[in-house]
């Protein structure tokens, strides 16, 4: 990989050990993946996980003087006030991981957005823009829906890119790797955002890692929630960082004959039976529920207002904790509505991820969620979920069972 004189100097420590440590990671990655050079970025998203491995690298950078040089947003952790609200015992180790996350974020100068959907409002790249975004829902969204360019970054490589303001030029930064290599014809009826999530999950299981599918047969009426969930699920059950939806996403819109664009003749068809099998697998359980989780990835304002509307004149069952995860920005904009929802038994929370220890009070019981991703991750925490639509979740929450 070719480095400029200035980049060599950064690597050799002439601009401090912190920058040198970040540069070493980028250069090693570039060499492993045959990048020709580093390219400038204007923004990054750091999917900090609050795990020791992540913190080890971040603290190493921060303590050796590294600071981010471009806007770098962060993934959620958990809102520390929730442990009192829910009377949860947080042990010293769990608390220290949160404290270290906040402290290192301040040192590094990242934006503590604690939000996994930065691409919807606060860290939005434009068409063709090179970026370094980690986070499983963010990578496919900005690549596919905006036509921006990022690899499937690890949290560490995204942070290093944020420090240097550059990323190695390989993979999805190159035109040739953005061309679809497989056609997916959807004959299944996809009627709402929830179905988009089911379809994403199904395709993630079928497609190979790094496949770039051209998807045909979907309605061009797409919501940001449907696209968010499709990307989150395809990149959780599988590893797909870029998809093209005919009639919807920008890169495919420029192609007059898409059948000539795809690099192979490989084609799969998704039928209603395929999607129904996924639905059945995740929805067939039932029984008394102790919780409802909405907001993995983080909920939008229309989703939260929908819950408010559906609950009109009713309350959540006393045995059910109704949890909605969103950004601090959305919480602020929702204002009085948050109190209205609280009076109906709904907790709208900022800064938090479903996969955090502060929600341990629902572990061991049956929960309900609209997110296959939440169900997948919380399984490790000994919680099973029924996965269904927001409409069904509200009815189940009022009844106390599903």
């Amino acid at each position: 990989m070719l480095l400029t004189t200035e980049e060599e100097n950064v690597l050799n420590g002439n601009f401090g050990i912190g920058k040198s440590n970040a540069m070493k990671l980028l250069v090693s990655l570039g060499e492993m993946f045959d990048a020709d050079r580093l390219i400038p970025i204007k923004r990054a998203h750091w999917a900090v996980s609050g795990q020791e491995g992540d913190l080890f690298f971040a603290e190493k950078l921060a303590n050796s003087g590294a600071r981010v040089s471009v806007v770098t947003t962060t993934n959620p952790a958990w809102d520390s006030s929730l442990s009192d609200l829910f009377h949860v015992d947080i042990d010293d180790y769990e608390r220290s991981l949160l404290d270290r996350t906040i402290e290192v974020s301040d040192k590094l100068g990242v934006i503590k957005s604690f939000n996994c959907t930065p691409y919807l409002y606060k860290d939005v790249p434009s068409f063709g823009e090179h970026t370094a975004f980690s986070e499983s829902s963010a990578t496919p969204y900005i690549n596919s829906v905006y036509g921006a360019r990022t690899n499937r970054e690890s949290s560490s490589s995204a942070l290093a890119a944020g420090v240097i303001g550059k990323t190695p030029n390989y993979g999805l930064h190159l035109d040739k790797n953005r061309v679809p290599n497989i056609t997916v014809d959807v004959s299944a009826q996809i009627k709402d955002d929830f179905d988009m999530g089911l379809l994403g999950w199904y395709l993630g299981e079928i497609l190979k890692p790094d496949d770039v599918p051209l998807i045909r047969g979907l309605s061009s009426e797409m919501t940001e929630e449907g696209l968010r969930d499709f990307g989150a699920m395809i990149n959780t059950s599988g590893a797909v960082s870029l998809f093209h939806l005919e009639g919807v996403t920008p890169e495919v819109k420029r192609i007059s004959d898409t059948s000539l664009w795809v690099t192979s003749r490989e084609k799969i068809t998704v039928t209603s039976e395929d999607v129904e099998r996924v639905r059945k697998k995740f929805t067939e359980r039932g029984g008394k529920i102790n919780s409802v989780y909405i907001g993995c990835p983080h909920s939008t304002i229309p989703e939260i207002m929908k819950v408010n509307r559906l609950l009109d004149g009713r309350k959540v069952n006393d045995d059910v904790k109704f949890l909605i995860f969103t950004s601090a920005t959305n919480l602020k904009i929702l204002g009085e509505n948050v109190k209205k929802l609280a009076s109906k038994g709904v907790y709208v929370m900022q800064d938090s991820c479903v996969d955090e220890p502060v929600f341990k009070f629902t572990e061991g019981g049956l929960g309900a969620t609209n997110s296959l991703k939440a169900a997948y991750y919380r399984k490790r925490r000994n919680q099973e979920f029924v996965v269904t639509t927001i409409e069904n979740l509200v009815e189940a929450a009022v009844r106390g069972y599903i």
Binding site: L29, Q51, G53, S154, A239
Partner: protein, 144 residues
């Protein structure tokens, strides 16, 4: 009869020479599902379930689609000095490569199918970090 050895040029990220007995897996290894204390692979349906990775030259076909929790798993091994001596991955992805670099576990790629089929039979690997040379030594039993 002495064991045969093969030298090849590779791409690697490393800070020094290293060697180890080959541990070949035809499936990727998720370090999050490796016991940090014993270094045994825990994944239920993994062909190497119960095998220890400590000190081994781990050879895997692909890091593609590897889980974002790779780094923490490898880090937990590192803090107990239970990490593999190197990771050779035929088809890498950024997540596994950055995890290895951060944990200072030498990572190697640029190997071909022929190497993979040799490594499958077992043996040992030596990495010359400076010269980017990987030497494969057949196991003695194999070469008799």
């Amino acid at each position: 009869m002495s064991a045969k050895s093969y030298v090849q040029k590779v791409k690697s990220a490393c800070n020094g020479n290293t060697e180890g007995e080959v541990l070949f897996s035809n499936r990727s290894v998720n370090f999050y599902l490796v016991d940090p204390v014993t270094s045994e692979i825990l994944e239920d349906d993994h062909p190497l379930k119960g095998i220890k990775v400590k000190g081994k030259a781990l050879v895997i076909p692909s890091g593609k689609g590897s889980s974002v929790v790779q780094l923490d798993g490898l880090y937990q091994l590192l803090t107990r000095n239970n990490q593999p001596s190197m990771i050779v991955v035929k088809d890498p992805d950024p997540v596994i490569v950055s995890a290895a670099i951060i944990c200072d576990v030498p990572i190697v790629t640029g190997v071909n199918d022929e190497f993979m089929s040799m490594a499958k039979k077992g043996g040992s690997l030596r990495l010359d970090c400076q010269r980017r040379e990987l030497t494969f030594v057949e196991s003695v039993e194999e070469s008799k």
